[in-house]
C-alpha cells in the first residue's frame, strides 16, 4: 500500500486563486511605487482607495454573475443590455419619488430574472451555445432599447442616489454590497447542491448526467442569477447617473470586460473550475491598473493595450499550469540507471 504514496501531493502547488491574489499584491505594490515616484502622489490616500473600490463595484456585480454562467460552461453576452434596461425601468418607475424605490428595484430585478430564465431555457432546452443564445437575446433587448428610447429617461430620487455616493470611511456602500453578494454566491457554490451540480455540469455534462444529476436546472439558475446581477449593476449605474440610460451598459463594454475579469480570476472559460473569490481578485486587478493609469494620466488607448496584455499573459500562465499530459510510464531517471 505504501507503493501508492501520493506522488502528486508531496509537492504543494499554489492554487490559482492564490496566484490571482499574489498578482493583485504585486500590481498594488508596483502601482504604489509608480504613483509615488512618477506622479508624486500617495496611492494609499483615502480618496484614491475610494476611487479604486468604486471602480470595482459595477464590474464586480457583472463579473459575479458571469462567473456562475462560465462555471456552467456557458457565457452571457446580454448583460450590458440587461443593465441598461434595468436602469431605465427603475428610473422610470421611481420617477423621482422616494416611495417608488422598492417598486423600481423590484421591477428591474424581475425583468432581469425573466431575461436570464429565457437565456437559460434557450441554452439548456434548445441546446443553443450560450455565446449565441445570449448574443441573440442581448440584441433583442438592444433593439427594444434603441427603438423606444432616444436618450436618458426617468429619474431616481436622492435617497437612491446615496447608494452610489456614500460610504463607510473610504469604502463605498456599493462596494460593500457587491462584496457581500460575492460572499453569498461563494457560499452557495460551496454549500448547495445546485452549486455542486453547476461545477459538475460545466466540467463534464455527461459525467454529471450519468451520476444522476439533472443537467438543466443549475445552468438555468446560473443564467437567471447572471441577469439579476446585471440588473443590479444597472440599478447601481442609475443611482450614480440619477437617470436611466439605454447605453450605460454597452458603453462600459461590460460584457467582454466581465468575461475577462472572470478568466483573469482563474476560472476556466470551458467551465467546471474556478470561483467567485478569484473573480473578485481579477476585478480588483483591473481596478488597480485602471486607477494607476488614470492617476498617471496615461493615454486612454494605452490603457486598453495594458488591459489586453494583462489578460493574455494571465491566461497563458494558467494554461501552462493546466495542460495535463498523459502520465509517463517511464521516467527519464529510471532509464539512466
Amino acid at each position: 500500500m505504501t507503493a501508492l504514496a501520493a506522488p502528486a501531493r508531496t509537492r504543494r502547488v499554489l492554487t490559482t486563486t492564490a496566484i490571482v491574489y499574489l498578482a493583485l499584491v504585486a500590481v498594488i505594490v508596483l502601482g504604489a511605487i509608480l504613483v509615488s515616484v512618477v506622479a508624486n502622489r500617495n496611492f494609499f490616500s483615502p480618496g484614491n482607495i475610494r476611487d479604486i473600490l468604486t471602480g470595482m463595484s459595477v464590474l464586480g456585480l457583472f463579473a459575479i454573475g458571469q462567473t456562475l454562467v462560465i462555471l456552467g460552461a456557458s457565457l452571457d453576452l446580454s448583460v450590458p443590455f440587461v443593465a441598461s434596461l434595468a436602469s431605465l425601468l427603475a428610473a422610470q418607475t421611481m420617477a423621482g419619488g422616494t416611495g417608488n424605490i422598492a417598486a423600481g428595484v423590484g421591477i428591474a430585478l424581475v425583468v432581469g430574472a425573466a431575461i436570464g430564465f429565457v437565456n437559460g431555457a434557450i441554452v439548456t432546452g434548445l441546446k443553443v451555445n450560450g455565446f449565441i443564445a445570449t448574443l441573440g437575446t442581448g440584441l433583442i433587448v438592444k433593439g427594444y432599447l434603441d427603438t423606444n428610447y432616444k436618450g436618458t429617461a426617468g429619474s431616481v430620487p436622492w435617497e437612491f442616489q446615496l447608494i452610489g455616493a456614500t460610504g463607510l470611511g473610504p469604502v463605498p456602500i456599493s462596494t460593500l454590497i457587491m462584496l457581500g453578494l460575492a460572499a453569498l454566491v461563494a457560499l452557495a457554490l460551496r454549500y448547495t447542491r445546485t452549486g455542486h451540480h453547476l461545477f459538475a455540469v460545466g466540467g463534464n455534462a455527461e459525467v454529471a448526467r450519468l451520476s444522476g444529476v439533472r443537467t438543466a436546472p443549475p445552468v438555468i439558475a446560473a443564467h437567471v442569477l447572471s441577469s439579476v446581477f446585471a440588473a443590479l449593476a444597472g440599478l447601481l449605474l442609475a443611482s450614480r447617473l440619477g437617470v436611466g440610460s439605454p447605453t450605460v451598459g454597452s458603453q462600459g463594454g461590460y460584457d467582454l470586460l466581465s468575461i475577462a475579469a472572470v478568466v483573469l480570476g482563474g476560472t476556466l472559460l470551458l467551465g467546471g473550475r474556478g470561483g467567485v473569490a478569484g473573480t473578485i481578485g481579477g476585478v480588483a486587478i483591473f481596478a488597480v491598473i485602471d486607477n494607476v493609469m488614470s492617476v498617471l494620466q496615461v493615454n486612454p488607448f494605452l490603457k486598453d493595450v495594458v488591459r489586453g496584455v494583462v489578460i493574455v499573459a494571465a491566461v497563458a500562465i494558467y494554461t501552462g499550469r493546466a495542460i495535463q499530459r498523459r502520465r509517463p510510464r517511464f521516467s527519464a531517471k529510471e532509464e539512466l540507471r
Binding site: A3, G195, V207, G212, F330, A332
Partner: protein, 513 residues
C-alpha cells in the same frame, strides 16, 4: 453455494440488425469474483453495459436478488445495488474525491450540503478498504489512474452496491497497482460483494476469479468454476476460430530490401527499450493489450511524442524526428487509430482531405497531387455519392478510412505506420486496406501495423512484435498462433522470441503458477 445475487438468462443484443450478443447465461454469487473473458469484439463490454443500464437488452432476463430488473439508466442500476467501473472513468478531475463520490446525491442538513459529513463518509469508505493514502479533499485530477479507480470503487460502495462489475480494471495499471487492486477486490469479497471482472490478463483472472465465463463472437462458450479450467484450455476456448483465407496473398515480386526504418533502444515517457528494424517491403505487426503502449510506439516513431532516448534511422540516415511535420518530410505516414478525431477534417470535402498533408507540408506539389488524387481514390474504390466535393462526415467508416489512406498515399511515403487500420470498417473495406498494404509492400514501403485483432496481424504481418507495459515483450514469426501472442501480451510466458510459433503445452500454465 449461496443463492446467486444476479442471474442473467438468454441475454441478447443487436445493433442495426447485427447480432453482437446471443443467449448469454451467467450467475453472480455473493462474495465471488466472476471472470468474463474473450477476445476483442467477443461482446464482453456490451454485456456489461446491458447490466449497467447503458444499453437495453433485446432478449432475455436479468434478475437482481430475485427480482427481474431492466435498467434504463446507470444511476437506476447503481441505486438498485449494481455498480459498474467503466474503463473510461466517470469522474470530474476538477472536483475533490468526496464531491465525486457523492455527486448527484450530496448529503444535506436542511438546504445546506453537509460537506463535513460527506468527507467523513468518504474517509470511512476508504478506511474500510484499507486505503489511507487518498485524502477525500484531494482533487481527483491529481490522483494516479489506480487511485482514480479506487475512487470509482468507493463511489460504488457508497451506493451500497452488492454487485460491482469492472471493465478491464488493470489495463492502465502498473504491477504494484495491480496488487493493490487485487487486495481491494479480496476485501470486497469478504464483505459479500459479487464482482464481475472483465480482463485480458489471464494470470490475473486465474488468481482472482472463482468462476469464469468465456465469450466468443457474441456467444457463450462456457461458464463454470475456474478450478475446472486450465490456462491452456481457457485460451483455446477464447480463440478457437478457424483462420479464413480472408487475407490476400503477397503480390508477386514482393521482396525484402534494406532496412528502411530503424529505432535503436528508443524510449520516451510511455515506451522504453524499443529496438525495431523494418525492411523495405516488410509488414511488421504490433500486438499487445490495451494500454500496452502500441499507439504510443507509433506516435513516438511519427514524432507526436518523440523518442527522447535512443536513435532513429530512415534509410540508414540518423534523424531526429521531433515533430510530425519533420516525420512527414522524411516520408513517414501515420494512419491514426481515431480517424474522426485525428485523421480527417470531417466538414471538408473528400478532395481537400486527400490534399491535407500535401498542402500543409509540400505546398509546391499541390497542383501535381490534385491530378493524382482522383486516381488514388478510385484505386482504393472510394465510393462517395457527391464525388470529390462530398463532405467526408457523410461517408461510411470504410470510405472515410480510404480517404485517410489516400491522403497519405499522395505524399508517396516510404514508411507507413498503421494504427488499427481496419477498426470499425466493413469487411469489403478491410480487404481493400489489406490489398493496399500488399501493394505498398511490393513497392518497397516499410509498414507497421498495430492491431487488436490477432487474426489480422497473423494474416498480414511478416513478423509480430508483442508489447507489454511499454516494452517489447517478445517477437513471433508470421505463422504464430493467437495463443502465443495472447500469452506474450498477457504476460503468462516469460519474455523472449518464440521460435516455432507455438508455446509447448504447459508453458502457459507454469508461468501462471
Amino acid at each position: 453455494m449461496s443463492a446467486p445475487v444476479l442471474v442473467a438468462r438468454g441475454v441478447g443484443k443487436s445493433f442495426l440488425g447485427v447480432s453482437v450478443l446471443r443467449d448469454i447465461d451467467l450467475e453472480l454469487h455473493p462474495g465471488k469474483v466472476h471472470g468474463l473473458v474473450g477476445e476483442n469484439g467477443a461482446g464482453k463490454s456490451t454485456f456489461m453495459k446491458i447490466l449497467a443500464g447503458v444499453y437495453s437488452r433485446d432478449t432475455g432476463t436479468v434478475s437482481l436478488e430475485g427480482r427481474e430488473v431492466d435498467f434504463g439508466h446507470p444511476v437506476q442500476a447503481m441505486r438498485a445495488g449494481l455498480a459498474t467501473v467503466f474503463q473510461e472513468f466517470n469522474l470530474l478531475p476538477e472536483r475533490n474525491v468526496a464531491e465525486n463520490v457523492y455527486l448527484g446525491r450530496e448529503p444535506r442538513k436542511g438546504p445546506i450540503v453537509d460537506r463535513r459529513g460527506m468527507v467523513r463518509a468518504t474517509r470511512e469508505l476508504l478506511d474500510g478498504l484499507g486505503i489511507d493514502t487518498i485524502d477525500p479533499l484531494t482533487r481527483v485530477g491529481s490522483l494516479t489512474v489506480a487511485e482514480q479507480q479506487i475512487v470509482e470503487i468507493v463511489k460504488a460502495l457508497s451506493f451500497d452496491a452488492r454487485v460491482i462489475s469492472m471493465d478491464e480494471p488493470t489495463a492502465a495499471l502498473a504491477d504494484h497497482e495491480v496488487e493493490l487492486l487485487s487486495s481491494i477486490i479480496r476485501k470486497l469479497k469478504e464483505r459479500g460483494v459479487a464482482i464481475l471482472y472483465v480482463s485480458h490478463r489471464l494470470a490475473e483472472v486465474f488468481a482472482l476469479c472463482d468462476d469464469i465465463t468465456v465469450l466468443k463472437d457474441g456467444a457463450l462458450v462456457s461458464t463454470g468454476p475456474a478450478a475446472e479450467l486450465t490456462p491452456d484450455e481457457l485460451v483455446r476456448r477464447m480463440v478457437g476460430r478457424p483462420l479464413t483465407t480472408f487475407f490476400p496473398e503477397k503480390e508477386e515480386g514482393t521482396a525484402l530490401g534494406d532496412v528502411r526504418f530503424a529505432v535503436r533502444d528508443g524510449g520516451n515517457d510511455y515506451v522504453s527499450g524499443i529496438d525495431l528494424e523494418i525492411r523495405a517491403g516488410e509488414i511488421v505487426g504490433i500486438a499487445g493489450l490495451q494500454g500496452s503502449g502500441r499507439t504510443e510506439l507509433v506516435e513516438a516513431a511519427f514524432g507526436v511524442e518523440p523518442f527522447t532516448r535512443g536513435t532513429v534511422e530512415v534509410d540508414g540516415r540518423r534523424l531526429r524526428l521531433g515533430n510530425p511535420r519533420r516525420a512527414v518530410r522524411e516520408g513517414i505516414a501515420l494512419v491514426t487509430e481515431d480517424r474522426k478525431a485525428h485523421g480527417l477534417a470531417l466538414a471538408q470535402p473528400v478532395l481537400d482531405n486527400a490534399l491535407l498533408v500535401i498542402r500543409g507540408v509540400f505546398p509546391g506539389r499541390t497542383r501535381a497531387a490534385r491530378h493524382e488524387v482522383p486516381g488514388i481514390l478510385s484505386s482504393l474504390e472510394v465510393s462517395a455519392r457527391g464525388g470529390l466535393a462530398q463532405e467526408v462526415r457523410y461517408l461510411s467508416g470504410g470510405n472515410q478510412q480510404k480517404v485517410v489512406l489516400a491522403k497519405w498515399l499522395a505524399t508517396r511515403p516510404r514508411v507507413v505506420l498503421l494504427d488499427e487500420p481496419t477498426r470499425g470498417i466493413d469487411v469489403g473495406a478491410k480487404v481493400a486496406v489489406y490489398r493496399l498494404m500488399r501493394r505498398l509492400a511490393k513497392d518497397g514501403v516499410a509498414q507497421v501495423m498495430v492491431s487488436s485483432e490477432l487474426p489480422e496481424l497473423i494474416g498480414m504481418a511478416d513478423r509480430i512484435l508483442v508489447l507489454r507495459d511499454g516494452r517489447i515483450a517478445g517477437e513471433a514469426p508470421a505463422g504464430a498462433t493467437e495463443e502465443t501472442l495472447l500469452a506474450l501480451a498477457a504476460g503468462t510466458v516469460s519474455d523472449g522470441t518464440v521460435d516455432d510459433g507455438t508455446v509447448s503445452d504447459g508453458t502457459v500454465a507454469e508461468a501462471i503458477r
